[in-house]
């Protein structure tokens, strides 16, 4: 088992390294001179061009640039923003909890909605209820998060005025206002994942129900509900938990659009702002940070899968 863990950790590190190479090389595949692209078309002075080139360290040989950058990254220094001149890492760390908050609530919501609906659909397989639930799940999968977010704002903020439409208030400042602003973005973010959880739960329950030991337990006359709770659900929920781990990547992708719509000052909105300002070091820093985070979470999920399901063997 230890060798399995070691191998997975190594693999994750290799992934992160490859991604950092990819992200590093992005600035070098910019068509034309990246410095001129950043400064825009208006004739920038020669000193300005030179200063930026030095700031971006583009005046040194490629390998030196790469190892300087990666060396700093390993020490936790992702460089400085071209716009504000401030260090990128602290900014990321302030914003990280805000993005996590959205994702965490979205996961809770998806489980709360997806698991019961999935069970219901499986138990009523091929009845009208199953059909209705499955269709809604399909719709949830097919509607882009930014559409859900926009429509929810339209309905609940503008029409019914239950929630403020955008903005952020920190929890310390005003807990109630904070939660009010957290709800719509989390629900929007949760639509896709709830649909995925529901579909997974449905097929998982159906699979477990058809297994021999369930038939035995039915045959010996155990109550349907008892069978469902004691035997089916416990086993059926394992793949669902696993899929939540995989969904973290989707959720993080979703926050890109959700934070934009709801003006939520998380990691993703930092990225969008950096892109619109051509703040390349920030773009690189945030993308590398988020990628490493996703890979790290996937690693944790893989490793914990074995704890949930003793049948999983580490090979």
């Amino acid at each position: 088992m230890w060798s399995y863990i070691l191998r997975r950790v190594l693999q994750a590190l290799v992934f992160i390294f490859l991604i950092s190479v990819l992200i590093f090389s992005m600035i070098h595949i910019v068509p034309g001179d990246p410095v001129l692209t950043i400064l825009g078309d208006e004739g920038a002075s020669q000193e300005k061009i030179q200063a930026l080139r030095t700031a971006l360290k583009l005046d040194r040989p490629l390998p030196v640039q790469f190892f300087d950058w990666i060396g700093a990254v390993v020490r936790g220094d992702l460089g400085e923003s071209l716009i504000s001149g401030r260090s990128i890492t602290p900014d990321i760390l302030t914003r990280l909890p805000r993005t996590f908050e959205l994702i965490f609530l979205a996961i809770i919501l998806s489980l709360l909605v997806g698991i019961p609906l999935g069970i219901l659909a499986a138990v009523r397989r091929n009845h009208a209820l199953d059909w209705l639930i499955s269709l809604s799940a399909m719709l949830g999968l097919s509607t882009p998060v930014f559409v859900t977010g926009t429509l929810l704002t339209l309905l609940f903020s503008l029409r019914l005025q239950w929630f403020p439409s955008t903005g952020y208030v920190s929890f310390q400042e005003d807990p109630l206002a904070h939660l009010q602003r957290l709800i719509l973005p989390s629900i929007s973010l949760a639509t896709t994942t709830s649909a995925i959880v529901m579909r997974m739960m449905r097929s998982s329950v159906l699979e477990v129900i058809s297994l021999d030991y369930i038939r035995t337990s039915r045959a010996k006359g155990l109550n349907q509900a008892v069978t469902l709770y004691k035997h089916v659900l416990r086993n059926a929920v394992i793949p669902v938990v696993a899929i939540i781990g995989v969904q973290v990547s989707t959720l993080i992708g979703g926050t890109v659009l959700i934070e934009y719509i709801f003006n939520w000052p998380g990691l993703s909105s930092m990225l969008i702002k950096a892109i619109s300002q051509r703040d390349y070091p920030t773009v690189q820093g945030v993308v590398l940070f988020i990628s490493s985070l996703v890979i790290f979470i996937n690693l944790l999920v893989d490793l914990s899968y074995g704890m949930l399901d003793p049948r999983v063997r580490y090979t």
Partner: protein, 270 residues
């Protein structure tokens, strides 16, 4: 055509073909020029002349939706075709040849698959600039691993089957074995993947356009229509609703088609 008897498949195909036809013949179908501005009738509610109303510049929303289909569907189809060709190539050669080539192709795919596509797409657009061509290439590359993985798994399963052995014994070369022996037998999972990827590609393109990283204005795409309409949600909520429903409906059709194909073509994947 037994597949067409499946209502899920036939219904979603009807929606897809209808939207394709609409996109291709947009200039003939659209009632107005999608770029023609008319400030007297801006933000007009749906009416007899403008079935879905007019936007902030008085442009006809229905015509913009119809022309928007061109952008969204073209990007989706071309990028998925690209991904399918590249991914199938990587999966076939990687799975059959093995060795370091397989390692590079499949690990590379794993790296790309482990990250949210929109994140990579945004980063790539940030550096390469946004144009329809770039968008198509980027989405194509991002979806290549999905095909590579599916094809790879299928090739590994098929390559030691008797019919391939016999082809090999008859002295067939590798390209012949791959293209005439293996490929026809693994088309089902490729088609399923293509259908699902088309839905995802439309979502991704719409998301990027929504963020202002897609088709440059004034050209209508469904994503940027929603994005601008959000600014007028108080006065003209219908502007947001029609492109939203359009995107959801098309993606729903592709997802349903993919699901239907998977259930009928490959019962093992159920």
């Amino acid at each position: 055509m037994k597949l067409l008897k499946n209502p899920r498949i036939s219904l979603s195909l009807i929606i897809i073909v209808a939207s394709l036809v609409t996109g291709i013949f947009a200039p003939l179908i659209a009632p107005y020029d999608p770029l023609k501005q008319d400030f007297i009738s801006n933000l007009g509610s749906p009416s007899q002349e403008h079935l879905l109303g007019t936007d902030e510049f008085g442009r006809d929303v229905l015509s913009r939706l119809i022309f928007g289909a061109r952008v969204s569907l073209r990007v989706a189809f071309v990028s998925v075709a690209l991904a399918m060709i590249l991914g199938t190539f990587l999966g076939l050669t990687g799975g059959y040849l093995g060795g370091w080539w397989e390692l590079i192709a499949m690990r590379g795919s794993d790296v790309l698959l482990s990250l949210p596509p929109i994140l990579l797409a945004m980063a790539a657009v940030a550096f390469l600039g946004s144009s329809l061509l770039n968008l198509t290439l980027i989405i194509g590359v991002l979806y290549t691993p999905r095909f590579a993985r599916v094809v790879h798994a299928a090739v590994v399963r098929e390559k030691n089957q008797d019919y391939i052995e016999s082809q090999r014994a008859l002295g067939a070369g590798i390209p012949r074995i791959l293209l005439q022996g293996i490929l026809p037998n693994i088309l089902a999972p490729i088609m399923v993947q293509a259908s699902l990827s088309l839905g995802f590609a439309i979502l991704l393109e719409a998301g990027l356009s929504f963020l202002g990283l897609g088709a440059p204005p004034p050209h209508p795409s469904w994503g940027n229509m929603i994005s601008t309409a959000r600014g007028y949600m108080r006065q003209a909520p219908y502007l947001v609703i029609s492109p939203s429903i359009t995107i959801a409906l098309i993606v729903l059709a592709f997802n349903t088609l993919g699901d239907g194909l998977r259930d009928s073509l490959d019962p093992r994947l159920k």
